[in-house]
Symmetry: C2
Subunit: 200 residues, 2 copies
């Protein structure tokens, strides 16, 4: 804010947050193996070695980025306000597509993490992330009155649609489809042009 003093040196917490944010953007753009710590540092406005002051290895930084991306998704859902006559899946799904413009890098990061799931630690983090989201949705459906089995089936379908949207946006699918086809993939009428998602 304007009231904050112009700092020449940041606090460690602020710097750490900036690094994780830069990591989300770089990992989303290039994947875990493709992103370099130098590019992350450049984006965060620091030197490359300083990244390792906060995260002992690149993998630790990747795990922190994946966790923050998942936290932000669930936080969006926690803040979501249901509309009249809208089921819980409607609220969560609408929130998901409405937040795409601001959450698109997190979305791409979550999908890109699958590329490096050869690493057992990252695969474990991905499983944990899946379970968190899946059970969050299932619990919401059960609270709404669904039977457990029905809620699980609905949650799986919901997660599958989310994956489809993530994958489609990550590869820039819109440009390869007819408008009606694209609408069948992602019900996101006011999404920014996909090209914007790939800019620097």
């Amino acid at each position: 804010m304007a009231t904050a003093p112009a700092r020449t040196r940041w606090t460690a917490d602020d710097r750490r947050e900036a690094i994780v944010q830069a990591a989300i953007e770089e990992f989303a753009a290039s994947g875990f193996a493709g992103a370099t710590t130098a590019a992350i540092a450049r984006r965060a406005g620091i030197s490359q070695p300083y990244v390792f002051r906060f995260f002992p290895t690149k993998k630790d930084l990747a795990l922190a980025a994946l966790e923050l991306a998942t936290d932000r998704l669930l936080a969006d859902w926690e803040r979501a306000v249901p509309r009249d006559g809208e089921g819980v899946l409607g609220t969560l799904g609408r929130t998901y597509v409405e937040t795409i413009p601001t959450r698109r890098t997190e979305l791409m990061l979550r999908l890109r993490a699958h590329a490096e799931s050869g690493d057992p630690d990252i695969a474990a983090a991905l499983r944990a992330k899946f379970v968190r989201v899946y059970r969050y949705v299932t619990a919401a459906l059960v609270r709404e009155g669904h039977a457990q089995a029905d809620a699980e089936a609905e949650a799986a379908r919901f997660y599958a649609r989310g994956l489809l949207i993530d994958a489609a946006l990550t590869i820039g699918l819109e440009s390869a489809l007819e408008p009606s086809e694209w609408a069948s993939i992602c019900p996101c009428p006011d999404i920014a042009r996909i090209e914007d998602l790939h800019g620097a």
Copy 2:
């Protein structure tokens, strides 16, 4: 076969095929950026430089692997025999899960590719692959009598479920879920233990 002469030198075509197969397995296990040409060559039983006799760059090899994986999926569907009272989506979906034991590496490769599309050429290949599969399913539904818009919506849901299965198997999700939860993700009763998918 036993009738084939024991060859000390392979034909170029056979060698090329072996390299692409090895590439599918390595890329599926480690992702595009993570897999090394040395590991691919080792798996194919040749020296690392010889890979570049067939594919001028690693990227060309990756594109060939992705195309073969997609070809095999569509070939499986072409060969599929419908059962009585089964809709076309039922046939395709059943074929998909039935062929998982033999097609699991192709499946993992396709998902990893989705996740590592920072390279524009690979992203373009992924879009082409998506469109091939999506339109194949849509056309089959239209032939079955569905209206175009309905077929597109069904095809999107179908593709989404496929992505979910791919992602779940790729990260070894089964071990992190209760059996009923896993059944809601992947209706694959007789699938091999997930650990088998990650063996060497």
